[in-house]
Amino acid sequence: MNGVAIRVGFIPLVDAAPLIVAQVLGFAAEEGIALDLMRAPSWSALRDLLVHDRIEAAHMLAPMPVAVAMGQGGGAARLDVLSVLSLNGTVIGVSGALAQKMRAGGARFDFADAAAAGQALIAATRGQLRIGVPFPFSMHAELVHYWLAALNLPEVDRIAIRTVPPPMMGQAIAAGEIDAFCVGEPWGSIAVERGIAELLLPGRAIWARAPEKVLAVRHGWLTGEPDLAARMLRASWRAGRWLDDPANHITAAEIIARPEFLDVPSDVVERALSGSFIISARGEQRQVEDFMSFHRGAASFPWRSQAAWIAAQMARRSGSDPVAAARAAREVFRSDTYRQVLGPAGAELPGASEKLEGAIEAPTAVASASGRLILPADGFFDRRIFDPASIGR
């Protein structure tokens, strides 16, 4: 079948899977499109490709389009979010030396309890804690700030956030440039394989349903090519549904691991998909339920309250107006487009486009178009609840 080519940028990460699978397994061809997948070396490079018309769409950190909407992200072109590609999927790791110190202090490395792990990390740190994240505007940075602030580690003099592209995270920790990192898989597990880091927590231990990557396009392209955008959105959504089936994890890992995509061993990729982790060079295993989500429980729905949460956090740190920031952020999370395109395709559409974030303690049936939508627990580790209506109050 012939397809209209759409250039799509991605960073080599497991959560680029919906776009890779959409192309390789023909979900794109079924929509009469061909995704021309271009691997970018860093998040800033990827953003520049998108802003400067070199690609039409990108696998992007959820906070990046929000930062652009707030006038912080660089580049004047407004970026729109068509869907959430994945929830969670990141890990926090520490250097071998720091892990040893933490273990000596009684840290359990249970890969689950964010409060205990954070306190152990703070207790083992003298002076500044240098943490690598892939980009300043990233869920990684937001989660780390949220986590350590909730545990009363003063941001200004105790935390130094460094930007390191995901594939370089292991090297940065080996070179002693950082003490810890928060990075998307497989790069945390690769650092474990190389014996240079130990995994402390999955990102989901801090926020159980954090929007991690989004499918982002230029606002102008979406306006000019609504039909192509719709076809790409459907293809990526169907690929996410395929990825959600545990029976497909081995095949998915083989595809994503290929040299032209991630170029890493497939069994390391499989860990993120199955949630079966090896956290240290000594082979300690940990199982994480829903380590990352692509589909179930409206995982791909771009909730405007997610955009508002991100905007509120960033505005607080940068000292800008949180009300204006949240307003701008809400607009770029295109839950309207998602409804129009994926409703007829059979997606579970929630009744509302905003919700309280962190309020669901156990799987809960919510108002939806089909009446069958169940939202999983979405809590923050400190049990705080974010009400998007409370911003500025």
Partner: protein, 194 residues
Amino acid sequence: MARTLSIIVVEQDRDRAMLIVDSLRSAGDHDIHIIASETGLARQIAERSPDVVLIDIASPSRDMLEELTLASGPLDRPVAIFVDQSAEGLGKAAIEAGVSAYVVDGLRADRVTPILEAAVARFHMFQRMRSELAATKRALEERKVIDRAKGILMKARGISEDEAYALLRKTAMDKGSRVAELAEALVTSAGLLS
């Protein structure tokens, strides 16, 4: 089929060709090309590389059907074949060759589009299963080679299976190559040395 498809219709009978074209046009703004003669069919289809091929033939012989199927490239695009009469076993042969729909005595204006839609859906489903199978087969072959390489290392160095795998993994990472490639090289050179 909401979007525009390029469709090749193979049909000798002019009236029936018109019926097919009208039926398809009423369903969408498709780019339709009619081929009346089967000579040079493979070349014409290769040149146009259509999204879908629809073949209507009154009463094909086995040889004719085989030739048509081969020419239409049923593994590259959905192919639907309509026949008036069919000898025993022809439908089975066509489906096995990868044809997405084989319809006997079913060429009616109101049926063409739904049959074509089903053929397109079936084609994509099979295409996906073929890709999945290819990926898992490759993985299985690689794992077999890795297992053999592990065995060689375990014997040669007196180490455990886990240690052998860790050694392969670490060496591959240090060299910037894939574990499977390293394992392949190890198995080959072990063959030379033994």
